[in-house]
């Protein structure tokens, strides 16, 4: 077909169309990023960019290499499911250069309480404490080793469990007295408190040892056991953990 056979009005239109198509192709080449559409309607290079981002958490395998002793201790304990970085924070910088960056060593109570503070939404059976009554203000680490938290020989401090009584006694006239002054506590009580109960005083003579003994000191109120209270026990009227002021 000769060019002259094409109707004249078509030629400028054709040129216009051709220019538009060429323009589109050129603009597309300029504006569409090079890897766009390689695997789909996106820039394939973005996947590599994202996968090359730096890591902050090294992972427990990195810790194991140097701290195998702590790792072995932890793996044998109930905390075996925890990663080191759960408590010590992101440690990729430390793994890369152990001297330059040091991970966090939490020492107070707050971090432990994020898991072990009582919340009714936590699964039942998960070990939880009420912070206000469980040795308040004492760092958890003073009794528990976080890498092996269950205490094989539990604390012999009565206040760990009997905080209410201990707090009351601490501000009373009996503050100076040890619990064992009046209670006999079998050793097994520390491990199985309900099976082996601590003994309460048997009779009036326990109180009488101080309060009906002229030689015990003049700041201690004295009574005559024979005439005071008759057939009643001392604790029927007086609360021994917070005896009334004179």
């Amino acid at each position: 077909m000769k060019l002259s056979r094409i109707p004249q009005q078509i030629i400028p239109l054709g040129i216009l169309f051709a220019a538009a198509i060429i323009g589109l192709v050129v603009l597309r080449a300029i504006f569409v990023p090079p890897t766009f559409g390689e695997h789909g309607h996106y820039r394939a290079a973005a996947v590599d960019e994202i996968s090359q981002l730096p890591e902050s958490y090294a992972g427990i395998k990195a810790c194991m290499d140097c701290h195998s002793d702590v790792y072995d201790l932890k793996q044998a304990s109930v905390h075996k499911g925890l990663s080191c970085e759960t408590c010590h924070g992101a440690a990729a910088a430390h793994a890369a250069d152990p001297e330059a960056a040091k991970p966090v060593v939490p020492t107070g109570r707050n971090l432990c309480l994020t898991c072990h503070g009582y919340l009714d939404s936590r699964p039942s059976g998960f070990p939880q404490i009420i912070s206000a009554t469980h040795n308040p203000a004492k760092p958890c680490m003073s009794c528990h080793n976080p890498h092996s938290p269950i205490i094989s020989a539990p604390t012999e401090e009565c206040a760990a469990c009997h905080a209410g009584i201990a707090n009351q006694k601490a501000v009373s006239h009996h503050a100076e007295l040890a619990c064992t002054q009046c209670h006999t506590v079998p050793k097994e009580h520390f491990t199985q408190p309900r099976v082996f109960a601590a003994q309460k005083p048997a009779g009036r003579e326990v109180c009488g040892a101080c309060h009906a003994n002229a030689g015990s000191g003049k700041e201690i109120p004295q009574i005559d056991l024979a005439t005071h209270g008759g057939r009643y026990m001392c604790w029927d009227c007086h609360y021994p953990h917070s005896p009334e002021a004179q």
Binding site: P33, H39, L53, E55, Y57, S83, T114, L119, R122
Partner: protein
Amino acid sequence: MNQPPKMPRREFLSNVAATVPSWLLFLSAFKPERLFAQESEKYDPTKHNYSMGVDIRKCIGCGRCADACKTENHVPREPFFFRTWVERYVIPVEGEVYVDSPNGGIDGFPEYKAESETLRTFFVPKLCNHCENAPCVQVCPVGATFTSQDGVVLVDASYCVGCRYCIQACPYGARYLHPTTKVADKCTFCYHRITKGDLPACVEVCPTQARVFGERNSNSSPIRRFLRFNDVKVLKSYLNTRPKVYYAGADEEVR
């Protein structure tokens, strides 16, 4: 009986010695270092398909996952931006279900005084569900958010125009607009970690293994085990988004 032709020992040994160089050449063609090289040397995305499992019965609501996520992915610390967060559900015997997530659970949960008796209460960690049929990918006008070949929904931060369509489209509220870069941001399953063979930061730090992550393709992966032994559900299944985050122990109230 045919006896093989006898070869004097001296001749045999010299023959063996003569072939040593050719033997070395032959062995070197195998490139022994290639035999011992790590499989992950070159990551092939078409060979992977990731999923996450969340066991609600194991979650203790400590918020370490949300905290680790912010550290790992440099998510702004303000309490409006989360790639993952923990919600507390309190279901009363009668009345409205109470759901809260103060600072995503990072600082713990305050004591909640329910007005009526509580029937059940539990924690639900939330994150991007990496839907196979992702509404956010569908609405992106520029192709800045997409499903990668290994099935992870990603955001191309340098290509995103910040129009927020995807944030609107996500039925799980998993996306936010980054306050400094002004582009959409969301959970990537820690794509920079999983492609190197590491676990996502939230899974790494979870103290009770409430989060499980792994390869759908592998028979022995933790996620396959999770899917085998649990009754799982996905969030808002009626939307046909086909999420890749599976919840065990979630009841109808979890949305």
